[in-house]
Amino acid sequence: MFDTVEAFYRPGTVREALRLLQNGKNRARVVAGGTDLVVEADQSIRFLIDITHAGLSYIRRKGKACVIGATTTMATLENSPAIRALADGILARAAATCGSVQIRNMATLGGNLANGSPAADTAAALLALDAEVVLAEARGRRKIPLTAFYSGLRKTAPGKALIVEVAIPALPRGGRWSFQKLGRTESDISLVNAAAGLQLDSQGRAKWVRIALGAVAPTPIRAVNAEKLLVGRKVDQSTLAEVCDEVAREVRPITDVRASAEYRRDMCRVLVRRALEECAAGTGCSL
């Protein structure tokens, strides 16, 4: 299937991986888990660069922030005590739904983002965590917000850069999070996924809100208008209804073999409501 491949490299460092990537020009592709790359079966590939030995499999706490190496697998994330404890474990929960056991043993966090799928389960969770993506290039490293990483359907910012790390900053104190997914089965591709984060002020009003969705626009998105609508208000059923209506206006779902746009739009309402209700319940707020 990959008869055109002339060389398979296993660089031991990021520097070496970048050099190989540069030398390979447009004919080189990065391999991590391979679960998307192999299915894509791109016949123009001449050089494969396996980055799973380049020291990018790690989960580290940095003060109140957390950094995750790009080749950390979904299985590692879902089983990591640090990731399960972070933000109500939404990233662990999202990782646990990314395909079968076999897929999750191979698929990586960096790959889930690099593939650029609007349905990437970890992307919605990471958007609700204000995650940033660390990119390495020959001239150095730069960090960009995940919101700036996606530039269109299956288009991502990196260009010739390599995703080396995902950084989750210190999160709001007392914040609560939720991840919700709708698929035919738990591990199937999402028809819609949603993640939410909520911090209340001392009066019980929403102070910090994150609402992120996947599979309902060309890229994973944050519903920023809906977030703004909730900030400063008490979280009650009528406010949630308004917020969910705003979410339904903000999303741009398509009709495909899996679901109609109309159904997806309705499910955005349902999942965001469930997510915010779960967050609110976590803060001790009764609806």
């Binding site: 398979f8 888990g33 076999q102």
Partner: protein, 165 residues
Amino acid sequence: MKTMEVRLNVNGEAKQWTIAPGDLLLDVLRRQGYFGVKRGCEAGECGACTVLVDGKPINSCLMFAAQAEGSDVLTIEGVAHGDTLDPIQEAFLDHGAAQCGFCTPAMILNAKALLDQKPHPSEEEVREALAGTYCRCTGFRKPVEAVLAAASRAGRKPARREAAR
């Protein structure tokens, strides 16, 4: 065509094979005679090509053979000990958990990876472990029962039985 060498352990035996850099592990294993590794969907959906790499189940149709360099690979051919079947294989026989048999190697390898990590899993954990392997004939009830039975037998020495039965 360009070639390269890959060194790995398969079922406990050290191997060095000449491969093409774009070869998939599934193709290389079958070329080398490990026909228990089944070619199914070739897209990571059906799980029939499952093998254990360093103890973890993966879809060999999605892994480049070069990625297995230095790894321990276990296929169904390496699960029995001579003529003595693994307790999971025994349990599959006892529970009639195989019909056409195409998914059986993958079911057993996934079950083995689970039980090696967690000798007494819940039914839900067993279902989760088998969820990435599609059976299109008998279904999943009997395989789930078989894995649970194998788990409850764990620690007991398996009875001798002809592997070819």
